[in-house]
């Protein structure tokens, strides 16, 4: 019988853990304790988690074991996971990576947390993130940068950098993330794991602290495509508390995993392989495409002519929505309030001035500007029009292909501090992911190789609306043929 503290256990996938728990090879409490021990050793250095609460975690694990003993266990009952600190979880500190909410204990559960709890999953803790999900490197967190488990001098990507690093470092078998412009896929790529951003509206935004409401979407992060499907099965579903949540019949996103890929039409947008793409990344992506051809796929050259506008469009729309969404953080009812102030306006200025970091302030300023009288038409309205054109590009493209493939990120993990003084360079890090959010489409990143420095490269697979099952099938077949997803950073095996 394998011991709970063997490296094999923390290397196990959700599917394997589910099987081991079902076979009573270990208990949920043992499993949770194993992860807690490992977190205690590694987290100080890596900074993946901002909050762990062993008592709470073990209580949940005990309940899961009791549920299994009572014969009511579901597939993921007793399986641990980490939640990005953007999700409200009752009784947990929910900081969103910000000083503004450093003292905020959520009084309610987000829909995603509620669903995971209901499935019997065990919360290991809340993971670090860019402040209010604004960033591509996890460096904007009030709680400090997260280190990439593959190279401690490198960023893990962002904004779901804590979740990605935790899964890569085997400090959690899976984690929740959110993706507004690439915040699941890009860190997944930079840490060598898998991440899925679902079709907009598939997963409820209720209880997920809003950054840009029309773009925000929660999704799973794990080490295999199959695990993404297992977790998405739990996370997805209609929620009347979110008016943008879609009413759809429940589906098993893993139902098509075994389908052969023969005849699959893979679209390669020429815009994804243009200037700015690092040679190592390009090489890895081309190798992955070659693998798909071996698996029976055919390649179609396509074009997304308006994709070049997506970063500009995004940095009008997302800050516009954010400037309004973040207005509630005013120091009046909860969160940070300045210790000293002279009047109401001064209280607002100081509380917000002290509570928000530089990147959040920058985006509030941009958003306020583009919504201002006299600029609204030139920026906001124009950006909305372009957003429709960008979405239309994908509609046209999907007439010729079943999935679109390309790099998730133009580079592998960059150095901590390398881009933090140059916001535009940082923003360009999401050049391949942003258009997918603007169109509301689903996208996956899976590991497909390494660069010369041993840093992981991510392959992005973009599907048509509600095509998650097909995308998971496409990713899974690749993972049956390759082992990139099984590579673990050295730090995780210590």
């Amino acid at each position: 019988m394998p011991q709970a503290d063997t490296p094999a256990m923390s290397n196990a996938t959700l599917k394997e853990l589910s099987a081991q728990l079902a076979a009573k090879a270990c208990s949920s409490v043992e499993l949770a304790q194993d992860f807690i021990n490992k977190i205690n050793i590694l987290n100080k250095d890596l900074g993946c988690y901002v909050t762990v609460d062993a008592a709470r975690t073990l209580a949940q694990a005990q309940a899961a074991d009791a549920r299994r003993a009572a014969g009511n266990a579901g597939t993921l009952t007793g399986v641990p996971l980490a939640h990005k600190d953007i999700f409200c979880a009752k009784g947990w500190l929910t900081t969103c990576g910000s000083k503004m909410l450093a003292n905020f204990v959520a009084p309610y559960d987000a829909h995603v947390v509620e669903r995971c709890d209901a499935a019997g999953m065990v919360t290991l803790g809340k993971t670090n993130m860019d402040e209010f999900a604004m960033g591509s490197s996890n460096e904007t967190s009030f709680f400090g940068a997260v280190r990439n488990p593959w190279n401690r001098e490198r960023v893990p990507g962002g904004s779901s950098g804590g979740s990605a690093a935790a899964v890569a470092a085997r400090l959690a078998p899976a984690a929740t993330g959110t993706d507004t412009g690439g915040s699941i896929r890009q860190p997944a790529a930079l840490t060598g794991i898998c991440g899925l951003k679902p079709t907009y509206g598939l997963v409820s935004r209720y209880g997920m602290i809003a950054f840009a409401s029309s773009l925000d979407q929660a999704g799973p992060m794990a080490r295999t495509a199959e695990d993404l499907g297992l977790l998405l099965n739990v996370m997805a579903g209609h929620d009347a508390r979110d008016s943008t949540s879609l009413e759809r019949l429940a589906e098993d996103y893993n139902r098509d995993l075994a389908k052969p890929l023969k005849g699959l039409r893979v679209g390669l947008p020429k815009e994804f392989f243009a200037a700015g793409l690092s040679a190592d990344v390009q090489k890895a992506i081309e190798a992955a495409i070659a693998e798909y051809k071996k698996l029976g796929a055919t390649v179609v050259d396509i074009s997304l002519p308006n994709m070049g506008l997506s970063v500009a469009v995004y940095y009008v729309l997302a800050p516009a929505e954010a400037s309004s969404n973040l207005s509630r953080f005013d120091g009046v009812r909860y969160g940070h309030r300045a210790a000293e102030y002279t009047d109401l306006l001064d209280m607002y200025k100081r509380s917000r001035g002290e509570g928000f970091g530089a990147e959040v302030k920058r985006r509030i300023l941009i958003g306020t500007y583009v919504l201002s009288h006299g600029y609204y038409d030139a920026y906001y309205i124009r950006a909305q029009k372009l957003r429709r054109l960008i979405a239309q590009d994908f509609v046209d493209a999907f007439r010729h292909c079943d999935v679109i493939m390309g790099p998730t990120s133009p580079t592998t993990a960059f150095k901590i501090g390398e881009k933090s003084s140059d916001p535009v360079q940082m923003y360009l890090s999401d050049i391949y992911t942003i258009a997918v959010n603007l169109a509301g489409l689903p996208g996956i990143s899976i590991p497909c190789g390494f660069d010369g420095d041993g840093l992981p490269v991510g392959l992005q697979i973009i599907g048509n609306y509600f095509d998650e099952a097909r995308m998971l099938n496409v990713a899974h077949q690749y993972q049956l043929a390759t082992d990139w997803h099984q590579r673990a950073p050295a730090v995780s095996q210590g």
Binding site: A106, P107, Y108, E321, S324, R328
Partner: protein
Amino acid sequence: MKWEVVIGLETHAQLSTVSKIFSGAATAFGAAPNTQACGVDIALPGVLPVLNTGAVERAIRFGLAVGAKINSPSIFARKNYFYPDLPKGYQISQYERPIVEGGTITMQVGDTEKTVRLTRAHLEEDAGKSLHEDFQGRTGIDLNRAGTPLLEIVSEPDMRSAEEAVAYAKMLHTLVRWIDVCDGNMQEGSFRCDANVSVRPAGSTPLGTRREIKNLNSFRFLQQAIEYEVRWQINELEDGRAIQQATVLFNPDTGETRLMRTKEDAHDYRYFPDPDLLPLEVTAERLEAVRAAMPELPQAMRTRFVQEYRLAEYDALLLTASKETATFFEETTRVTVAASKVALAMDGQEPVESGVAKLVANWINGDIASRLNAEAIELRNIPITPGQLAKMLSRILDQKINNKQAKVVLEAMWSGEHDGDADKIIAALGLEQISDSGEIEKIVDQVLAANAQQVADFRAGKEKAFNSLVGQVMKASRGKANPQQVNDILRRKLAP
């Protein structure tokens, strides 16, 4: 110079839903502070608005009642500004595409009918309240009102006097209560007006610069505020000073308006479509369902009253001042007709209902209206039922009591004596009218015998003496004699 006054009103009508416009919290008035505010209302991180379909239905009902266009889709937008009683830092409202567009309100101003065009009516949420008293040097926040559904009804600048503005506001007030979209309680702030006032030289076309008087929560204040503001603006202009566009507050204690902010410090609200709420579609089916459930509107009812009951226009107007009054009238008429059908059928002059209806209208618009007025209560709180009133009126119709006695009966009914039963009251007070001609003759004979001088005066041509004799007979009968019979018998007896 002669000046023309131009007024447009923006009215906030609180919609009478049980829960808030974007959350499940209750809207009831007067709860302890912050006990009716859920996570959505206090804007916790991560919460989202969900539109209350009851509020939408009420907005549609209003739109149909004023003959407006119902936009589909209409769009919710965020109006961004910071204030402690606005928890999200933005108010969800409708901006570029309101749910209701156009429509008219027609009302009576003195003897003339006036029609005011509506610009629009849109759905929005109310803010909470800042409590500046009770907290020395600090401000308390009560978020119970935050998220309460409002319909903001905006008129065109079609009114030309304070009287017209008040008449419009009153008609609107009647209408929103009539169609059950708002309880109209002005003390509790369920119905409040902002008045945009400007003046211009009579005969000139361009509008003068307007000032907006905020938050007028009584018709009296509306009238006073506009009158003051008009005088103030005319004075300014006549003294050679230009009017600055501004928002002002009315102080009921001084009767004056006071500057709150000028256009220069006006907010840039940075409106944009709320990404948390989908465009609001109103299907043709939904529209028809609301239309089918619409009550008969005051205008239509007024016309019907005139035609069906042959009431005077003015009576019909008064009876349709509120739905309660109209219902009270129709119910009383129905019961009285049923009770008096036989007696009246003999008349043969007018249709049965019309005779009764006129009597009912006279009493409701006369004695009952003045009584309600004196006690400052609304008809919905009247202590008598249509059935009780009908019984009393039936006794008039069958001549058991006369009008004077009826007033005494009404008085007793009002105080709840004898369960408000007219018959019991008549019996207990011995009010039953004497219509027995033998009995009346007896009294007349006694009076004639005791008043020889006045009989002589009458016969000498002094008509006045006749009235005095009638009075003596009525007095002797303690008011119970049928006045018509007394008249007839006296005439006969005094005939030469």
